[in-house]
């Protein structure tokens, strides 16, 4: 019988299935960070349970770490307790940890692939919704709650119900200035934040095939913003090339065996999808969000929508609430929105290719005088690579702050936050109320668009920056 990529990975990990379809799924790779794991380890201790396969888990602190000078340690008392707790738990249960001052430390979804811990065809989980990122390599990857983290630690399995199959085809060629961030914002804007609920989405089509693996990660990363369990992209030669010689990639004979397995990971040509959406690349422009839901997107050349034109009553109410929170008026031009801060980073856009693209546009220019801007590389290795290429100097010369790696202002658990009514062009993934700081106003953009906003001081069109 013909199968989708999701069907194949699912079947390959089925430990047990009840008559009603409740399945026990094997987990090949488990990523752990400091915020959603302490209660799970505590649960194991209370019940006297062990970690079943410590070697299949990798831990890193990322949400709570300062992005400024780390030589003095973490000043926030609670953050410090959480990071210390992770260290102690990893020691007690024998789990590999990249600690705060380890060169390999970084955002959990960036270090997984970077180390080759993430691999095609695996089931990967983490107590973090952006685990979807790893789907870019053809692994079934999704976020779980802390009770489930505890379940995975104790059993190396997870109780799951199978989702339905959804394919999004992005056809054609991307216009100039349009990146994978715009593609995923376009998809979310098209299907809505609950459009993927109950599904695993496979992204396919010429545009997806032409993207680099890092660009594909941006797409899968935000699949959760469309409500889907996971996002998937079939591995190809680029994927295989990416994993060659990574520290935790298979070696020698195992590499040959793994590659042979990875090459079988695609949806059969006659596989059945429960839902399918087609998007034409020529209809995608550089996008920004104007509201407090990732589906609230507009082309940079457009205007803030008028809630009065919305027919759905609940949606209209939500739009009014968003506009009030965002301090915007209906019908104002998007390019007339003045920004205060720029944030480049996060598991969505904190990789070396993102920083290269931004630096290329920024070279020799200065940020607007009334804007403050920061770059937070996604990992210590991304930071090192960027510094070797002189990218840090481009940012610093333009007026950006060059920081230490972590989640930073994407969710503002550390000191990196917006003040009330401060407006930010951000390469992160969520524009929810209060997400980047109480009262803070977030506009989601691509790295190129973040640079354009930094230079102009307003939301601006990346195509006008040369």
């Amino acid at each position: 019988m013909s199968k989708t990529l999701y069907d194949k990975i699912w079947d390959d990990h089925l430990v047990h299935e009840d008559n009603d379809g409740t399945a026990l799924l094997y987990v090949d790779r488990h990523l752990v960070h400091e915020v959603t794991s302490p209660q799970a380890f505590e649960g194991l201790r209370i019940q006297g349970r062990q970690v079943r396969k410590p070697k299949l888990t990798l831990a890193v602190p990322d949400h709570n770490v300062p992005t400024t000078d780390r030589s003095k340690g973490i000043s926030d008392k609670q953050s410090k307790i959480q990071v210390d707790t992770l260290r102690n738990n990893c020691k007690e249960f024998g789990i590999n940890l990249f600690d705060v001052n380890d060169k390999r430390q970084g955002i959990v979804h960036i270090i997984g692939p970077e180390q080759g811990f993430t691999q095609p065809g695996t089931v990967i989980v983490c107590g973090d919704s952006h685990t979807a990122t790893h789907g870019a390599f053809g692994s079934l990857a999704f976020g779980i709650g802390t009770s489930e983290v505890e379940h995975v630690l104790a059993t190396q399995t997870l109780i799951q119900k199978k989702s339905k199959n959804f394919r999004v085809n992005v056809n054609g060629r991307l216009p100039t200035g349009v990146t994978s961030k715009d593609v995923i914002l376009k998809i979310i804007g098209t299907i809505g934040t609950a459009g993927g609920t109950g599904y695993v989405i496979e992204f396919a089509g010429e545009v997806i095939r032409n993207l680099s693996v890092e660009q594909r990660m941006t797409i899968c990363n935000m699949t959760i913003e469309a409500g889907a369990r996971a996002g998937l992209i079939a591995p190809d030669d680029k994927t295989i090339e990416y994993f060659k010689d990574r520290p935790m990639s298979p070696k020698g004979e195992n590499w040959t065996k793994a590659v042979a397995h990875w090459k079988k990971l695609f949806s059969d040509s006659d596989a059945k999808f429960d839902k399918e959406v087609n998007i034409d690349a020529k209809d995608i422009e550089p996008l920004v969000t104007w509201g407090t839901s990732p589906q609230d997107v507009s082309p940079i050349t457009g205007e803030v929508p008028d809630p009065e034109k919305e027919k759905d009553k609940d949606r209209r109410t939500a739009m009014y609430r968003s506009l009030e929170y965002m301090g915007l008026k209906p019908k104002m031009k998007i390019s007339d929105i003045k920004v205060d801060k720029i944030f480049i980073g996060s598991c969505t856009n904190g990789r070396i290719e993102d920083l290269r693209l931004a630096a290329k546009l920024l070279k020799g220019k200065k940020i607007a005088s009334d804007v403050s801007a920061m770059v937070v590389p996604g990992s210590g290795l991304v930071k090192k690579q960027a510094e070797e290429e002189g990218i840090d100097k481009v940012f610093k010369n333009a007026g950006f702050e060059w920081r230490e790696p972590g989640c930073s202002m994407c969710l503002g658990m550390n000191e990196d936050q917006l003040s009330s009514k401060e407006r930010c062009a951000s390469t992160s993934n969520r524009n929810f109320e209060g997400r980047q700081g109480r009262g803070g106003r977030t506009h989601l953009v691509s790295p190129g668009m973040a640079v354009a906003a930094a230079i102009k001081g307003y939301l601006a069109d990346v195509r006008e920056i040369n």
């Binding site: 430990v15 209660q39 959480q82 973090d128 379940h151 590499w255 969710l411 109320e433």
Partner: protein, 198 residues
């Protein structure tokens, strides 16, 4: 985990769609290493102003809703972050049942690990139940019968049998899965042969 069998309460209605987990419990409260104590911070930015004072017009700040055990909300409740702190905060506040036209996937699953019943019913039924919230009248949820009873009316809801059983009996998932260790070992042995690189 506490069993969920029947629950009677005046429901509180927050008529907003896409209530995300950042809204339910903001980031600053995720620094805890405990599961308890989050109830006072539930819906923090809607409940307290910037000086920490209660915002009077917010429903959960007013009696009898400050004691509501049932929450009515708009569609796509619990979207965004996977933080289980969201159901922990609801539970700690006293809410054990959330009724919405739809839920985000991770939040929905997290509820069942904490003895919270998420019920999916259509928008029109939510509006009907909302009248009971306004009139400060109790409604009753009966999980075994899969019914919501209000006035002299009732409506039924769907729930997966396995999830229903877990709530009714307050079962520990890990304990249940550990009974399947022989299956897990068999799987691992076979995987070691077919995929030795894992």
């Amino acid at each position: 985990m506490e069993k969920f069998i029947k629950l009677k309460s005046i429901p509180a209605h927050i008529p907003l769609m896409n209530i995300d987990t950042d809204m339910i419990i903001p980031k600053q409260f995720l620094k805890t290493i405990k599961r308890t104590g989050l109830g006072k911070s539930l819906f923090y930015e809607m409940r307290y102003d910037e000086s920490g004072k209660l915002i009077e017009k917010f429903i959960l700040n007013n009696d009898p809703y400050s004691k509501s055990k049932i929450l009515l909300a708009g569609k796509n409740f619990g979207c965004g972050s996977s933080r289980e702190h969201a159901p922990w905060a609801l539970l700690d506040f006293g809410i054990r049942c959330v009724i919405s036209p739809s839920f985000a996937d991770i939040f929905y699953n997290n509820c069942f690990n904490n003895g919270i019943l998420p019920i999916i019913i259509d928008d029109k039924s939510i509006q009907e139940l909302s009248e009971y919230s306004k009139r400060k009248e109790e409604i009753e949820v009966d999980l075994n019968e899969q019914e919501i009873l209000y006035g002299n009316k009732k409506l039924t809801f769907d729930i997966e049998a396995a999830k229903k059983k877990r709530l009714l009996e307050g079962l520990d998932n890990i304990g249940l899965s550990l009974k399947k260790i022989p299956n897990i070992e068999k799987f691992e042995n076979s995987m070691n042969k077919t995929k030795p690189w894992i």
